[in-house]
């Protein structure tokens, strides 16, 4: 859905999404990384399993919730990527945290 402007800093780091190693630009938020990777949806709601993705990118809407390093429902737009970071999309509405 989003691409990096070609002329900006080329550094990429490796993180893990849903157990898969992926390369993303350094210094961006985890929610931005998901847009960069086109990892959509980034979660499903518990009530109706409807697909969602980051909406406000400023910490207010709580749509970007991810499981990060074993902790469920973290706001991905408020977290920076760092090498080796492990995150799971909460795609199974019946079992939030079942991935850890």
């Amino acid at each position: 859905m989003f691409r990096r402007l070609e002329d900006s800093a080329p550094e990429r780091i490796e993180i893990e999404i849903d157990g898969e190693p992926v390369l993303v630009p350094a210094g961006i938020s985890l929610a931005a990384a998901l847009f960069y990777l086109d990892a959509m949806p980034s979660r499903r709601t518990q009530l109706s399993a409807s697909p969602r993705a980051a909406f406000c990118m400023m910490g207010a809407c709580f749509e970007c919730l991810l499981e990060v390093e074993g902790e469920g429902s973290q706001r991905a737009c408020q977290l920076q990527v760092r090498p080796g970071l492990r995150a799971w999309r909460q795609l199974d509405p019946l079992e939030p945290g079942a991935n850890s």
């Binding site: 859905m1 691409r3 402007l5 800093a9 909406f55 400023m58 207010a60």
Partner: protein, 462 residues
């Protein structure tokens, strides 16, 4: 880390940074708490650490923030970045989450400078991946140098939407279409306020520059759009709407919504500050005096959190609050305060001169909102407009009762993205002003905090 400070400032955008600099310069001991990892707020996000090869593409107003951010970095204060205030009360006691640990802080004075949030723009399908706020698009650009892979559709109304279109053009991305919901009848009201706006003519000039660049790029610009509907299964596929009587459908994978910004009120609410409804800005605002002090003594609110005025006005309001705190704490005398405040007050009045024009030009049409009952009002608890209508028809008296009946506003975002919609729907039912409807009560935790974090902290302090 100490447990009490003479002044705690919440937010490190233009208002918070300015308040900190002024107060610290007068010898006040200051702590600044900010949710972001870098100072600058949303407006100057990453301004001195831009991932863009050429940050100029964002425009000159953005780069104006760079000297302020750099000066703030050298201001002698205690700075808590990437930290959240989850508790605040009228006795100026603050619950802080810093590096995943809870801390209790007492503040002599508080300046709330937490800025604005986007006014929710509920349309059917706005919860789909592929739909986001225009502000989110701008944050992706400023902080991650990310731009849409395909030209997006921008829909709504207001300067930020046009600015984002202009920035995407400069970045070589293009814009598929602008779907403009600005009501036509706003123009006359705005024109009546044009003479006063001339005192801040640079804003008008900048606006015209954006508009003419967008027109030159021949972006399809649909006017008086209504009945917007985002459609798709797993992701957004198309946007449908009516424009000047005709039905339009645009295939797109990315839709960026915007209909202005409103003050972020959770902190002022938690402190118990009195609010009033602004008919002009169509939002609630805390009552503040000329220095920014709220109805709660010692609690100041500066910048957009007290009413939308923009970044320059926010910095000036922050400086005035900083001076008043220094005066209260006997760091400066009354005469010196007044002398220092005078040029700030004059400049503030000038920057605010543009607001009546902008506010009336981009005033939202409440009657055009939520015309489709299937629209999700509460994205978190998945409550539709029809469900709110149903409890309103049963005689539901206000937002808090609607919350109790439907769970609307009880989800993670705590009503930040449904409060305004619930007020509009209830006001429509009772055929009264939103002013008479009231608002959701805010309760801590204002941001998520775990029991473990609280337990660990009480262990420390006992």
């Amino acid at each position: 880390m100490k447990t009490s400070y003479p002044l705690v400032i919440i937010g490190a955008g233009p208002a918070g940074m300015a308040a900190a600099q002024v107060a610290a310069a007068q010898g006040v001991e200051v702590a600044v708490i900010d949710e972001q990892a870098q100072p600058g707020g949303q407006i100057y996000r990453n301004v001195d650490s831009s991932p863009l090869a050429d940050a100029q593409l964002l425009g000159r107003d953005y780069l104006l923030g760079k000297p302020q951010v750099q000066a703030f970095r050298h201001t002698p204060i205690e700075y808590f970045p990437a930290s959240a205030v989850w508790y605040l009360d009228r006795n100026r006691e603050i619950g802080l989450l810093h590096q995943a640990e809870h801390r209790r802080i007492e503040a002599g004075s508080i300046v709330i400078a937490c800025g604005a949030q986007e006014r929710p723009m509920p349309i059917p399908g706005w919860q789909l991946p592929g739909v986001m706020t225009a502000g989110a698009g701008q944050i992706l650009l400023k902080s991650a140098a990310l731009v849409p892979s395909q030209p997006p559709v921008l829909a709504g109304s207001g300067p930020l939407m046009l600015l984002l279109a202009w920035q995407y053009l400069r970045a070589g991305v293009g814009v598929r279409a602008i779907v403009d919901t600005t009501p036509r009848h706003n123009r006359l009201q705005a024109m009546l306020r044009l003479p006063r706006a001339l005192a801040a003519a640079e804003y008008l000039y900048k606006g015209l520059k954006l508009i003419s660049a967008i027109k030159r790029a021949r972006i399809p610009w649909y006017l008086e759009a209504r009945n917007l509907c985002a459609d798709g299964d797993e992701q957004l596929q198309r946007l449908r709407f009516d424009s000047r009587g005709g039905a339009v459908e645009i295939e797109t994978g990315l839709l960026q919504l915007h209909q202005g910004v409103i003050p972020a009120l959770q902190l002022a609410d938690a402190a118990g500050c009195e609010m009033r409804w602004s008919e002009m800005q169509q939002c609630w605002q805390p009552l503040v005096d000329a220095w920014g002090e709220s109805s709660i003594a010692g609690v100041f609110i500066a910048g957009d959190a007290a009413g939308i005025g923009g970044a320059r006005a926010a910095a000036l309001a922050g400086q005035l609050a900083g001076l008043q705190v220094a005066f209260r704490q006997n760091r400066i005398g009354q005469q010196q305060r007044n002398r220092l405040a005078r040029p700030l007050q004059i400049a503030l009045r000038r920057h605010l001169a543009i607001r009546p024009f902008l506010d009336s030009y981009y005033r939202i049409d409440n009657d055009a909102q939520l015309s489709d009952g299937t629209t999700l009002v509460c994205r978190c608890e998945e409550i539709s407009a029809a469900e709110i209508d149903a409890v309103a028809a049963l005689g539901c008296s206000g937002p808090n009762q609607a919350k109790a009946f439907t769970r609307c506003g009880m989800g993670h975002c705590q009503g930040r993205f449904c409060g305004a919609s619930v007020e509009i729907l209830l006001a429509r039912h009772r055929a009264c002003s939103v002013a008479d409807i009231g608002r959701f009560t805010t309760r801590p935790p204002l941001k998520p905090v775990t029991l473990g974090q609280l337990a660990a902290a009480s262990g420390d302090q006992s």
